[in-house]
Amino acid sequence: MSEKKEMRDLVEKLTKKQEEIRELIKAEIEWEPVGPTPMPEVADLRNWDMRLLKTYKPWYAPFCDLCCLCTYGKCDLTQDRRGACGIDIGTQQARIVLLACLMGCSAHAAHAGHILEYLIDRYGPDKKIDLGTFIEVEAPNIRTVTGLKPETLGDLKNAIEYVYKEITHLLDSTHFGQEGSALDYESKALHASMLDHVGMEVADIAQIVGFNYPTSVADTPLVEMGWGSIDKSKPVILVVGHNPATSTVVIDYLRENGLEDKIEVCGICCTALETTRYSDKAKIVGPLSRQLFFVRTGIADVIMTDEQCINTNMPEEASKVGSALIATLDKAMYGLEDATEMDTDEIIKRMTENKEHFAILEPAKAAEVAAKVAMKIAPQRKKELLSEEEAKKLAEKCTDCGICERACPNLFSIGDGITEMAKGNFEPMKELFNLCIGCGKCERECPQGVPIFRLMQVAASKETWKVRAGRGAVMDTEIRKVGAPITLGTIPGIVAFVGCSNWPDIRDIAEMVDEFARRKYIVVLTGCSAMVAGIWKDKEGRTVYEKYPPDFDAGGVVNIGSCVSNAHISGAAIKIANIFASLPLRANYEVIADYVLNRVGACGVAWGAMSQKAASIGTGFNRLGVPVILGPHSSKYRRLYLSRKEEDDWTVMDARKRELVDTGEPSPEHLAYVAETKEKAMIMIPKLCIRKNDTPQGRSIKLNHYISLYKKYMGGGLPEDLHLYIRRAADIPLVYRKEVMPYLEKIGWKPKEPVGLPTLIGTYPSKVSIDSVIH
């Protein structure tokens, strides 16, 4: 058959739908052959999901015995009962997980869509995507998932519209009376979460291109963090949220009007991280857990909220301390009057004179109003912090009744701390401040009206810290360098500290980062975790950002950026498969995910995971084959993916020999796992970085860390499951050989042949052939 005829046949066989997809992804541009799943729909990657879920079974911890989602309810789902719709307790949990992942995915997708629209308005759809000299694979998630290589902002739109459509289909399935299988809901959650990485990638590429954020550079500026770093003698604008459209325009406005040194701009949450990518004069107050505390200091003259992770009671909180508030996005308008089309002077007048708050959805107008209002009201506002004497006095109101403790999600002994404060001992409250997640429940419950958050002003350290500004995508050059050591195992792993601030102790992140950077892991960070990695200093007074190089390389500590920058972490894993291993990524998700699962020793740590976005980010990593460790409270997400190492089947295909091999090796052991303590997390991290592809040298390095951290935190001994990870004697770390060898003999360990080219392809039904995993 001539090539032409073949082509014609192919084209004839294409359905209209396939044709349309090929058009959307510009299939005619042949940068790589179009893989099997361009713009995959709900069921297209289901076989892959089912294969993952066979080993990593969902573990459900229902938060409630009931379902309350329709008017047939409430339905009692205890003891194998089913709701009126037929659903059981496990499937109901899976449905809620899917809903959470959709809420997360839609948050980023809408953020991406909004930013894109804004930038296309400014620059047109043809504005080129250029991430700098060292980044050619600009959009690994988009390329892998959709098959599109985006070259312009307009191309990104095609990608995000595909996400919108899939969100709708997935949300449909959460409706009354649909999916009856927990596994299918999980497959849908995995799909939603993969899409989340597409959405995040669109958002951050657009931001980088549109706002000129740093790119193709590792040593981004060090910016200041800490509420003590904010000069409250100046007018202060506080930006809170995630969408930097407005905050960047605020910086523009200040620059254009020569006000950059006259007005302090500071931020909380991801908008803070974004703003410091745009201006290193902007400051980071801290993560979400500092929001209520900082707002209640009254230091901010103007607060600008955008979207996600902002206090929903902000108007009241702002009014209480006399701050002005501007809501800048339609996601959260607080019932405020929409002043987008009101005369600017009128707005300013009403904000300053009547102390009214407004929604202003036009960035330029919001920026101007913010600056002018801040300058106008700052001189009149008293921004006195509490003195120790005043604090002592206020603390005396506390009767140590313990009511606040009951409301505290962490059961902290707040009363004890305050009682001590009344005695002049501020230490317990200082300690508490580091543990506190800032939920505000304690103060609300206090029958004595003790202003707990104000008291914290005295306890909270005014120290300032350094955070490296987020750098966006990992460079192709870096990937080229680390590809081999990562997949062979000689770089023991990539550890990604990501996500929110619902952690047991704010200092945990910095401690873990230090431990693994020292051990020459590649440490990457995003979001709230990226901030608080900076709140610890070594003896020389250096934060981890100053202590370790900012390179994506062994021992580097890299702030990738905000939440949406998480796509660059999944992107880096994908790029290892593509750039280093030369696997085509175009519409080739299954092969890439299989590669990552079996060969890229990466592990996410979402220690303070709290939001629905954290759910979708994490679950998206899971579909790609990256395990995630969560903090203890994250059992409240209701679902984990756990294997049972002794019982489960660890068979893989050896792609070279084309035969199934029962490895018995639980690597990675879990996909979504809750660790009780940071000590346990630090034991798990090295283990979850083990991959079947490790060379003996790489494996011995990984096991070295595993054993050494086990000994450090378990008081000696050897990990109970160590033998499962030792294939041959060469895998045993030299330093531990004397201890390990006799142990292995004792338990009757037998060496095994390592697998040449481990893959799951071939172990389950899939359109993908084994050939495609060989590069």
Partner: protein
């Protein structure tokens, strides 16, 4: 009226809340009924102390008195080793719970899955979630119990909220005694 858990996050939402046992004797009775009980000990036992003795030691007294095997979660094994105790198994709490769900699991002793699992010393929200797993997915083959000083709605048997540490201490000591007498 519902017993409101001391930890407000752990309020029962649903149908089946833990039976509150007050008296050590009631606990002893339930434990004695069990053929293969298991004690799951968590890291909070290192942080809490009663009268200068860490609560872990009270837990060990109980284990010894009733001859119950121990699963040490998190990094608890370190301290246990220090105290000269070898736990019967080391799992993190979500892992042991995962195994316990399976009626055919061999148990920490290889003698079959457990029929009573006593949780002690896990972070309150996590412990309640783990109890929920077993309440929903293991109700056919095991019961759960807690010894922490809080009410855990998802357990089968729980203490009520105890305000005073001395009452808790007395309970733990009495339980040990009661178990010793029984066995």
């Amino acid at each position: 009226m519902a017993t409101i858990p001391l930890h407000r996050v752990n309020v029962l939402t649903g149908i089946k809340g833990a039976t509150i046992l007050e008296d050590p004797g009631q606990f002893t009775k339930q434990i004695a009924k069990a053929k293969r009980p298991l004690l799951v000990l968590g890291p909070r036992l290192l942080e809490w102390s009663l009268d200068g003795k860490i609560v872990l030691e009270y837990a060990l007294d109980i284990a010894k008195a009733a001859n119950i095997p121990i699963c040490a979660t998190s990094h608890l094994k370190g301290k246990l080793t220090e105290l000269g105790v070898t736990p019967d198994s080391v799992y993190d709490v979500v892992e042991i719970v995962n195994a316990l769900k399976d009626p055919d699991w061999k148990g920490v002793k290889g003698e079959g899955n457990h029929d009573l699992v006593i949780f002690f010393g896990i972070r309150s929200d996590l412990q309640n979630q783990c109890l929920s797993v077993l309440k929903h997915f293991a109700f056919g083959h095991l019961k759960t119990m807690t010894l922490d000083k809080y009410y855990f709605p998802h357990a089968d048997f729980s203490l009520n909220n105890i305000r005073k540490d001395k009452d808790w201490k007395a309970f733990l000591e009495d339980l040990t005694k009661s178990l010793q007498t029984k066995s």
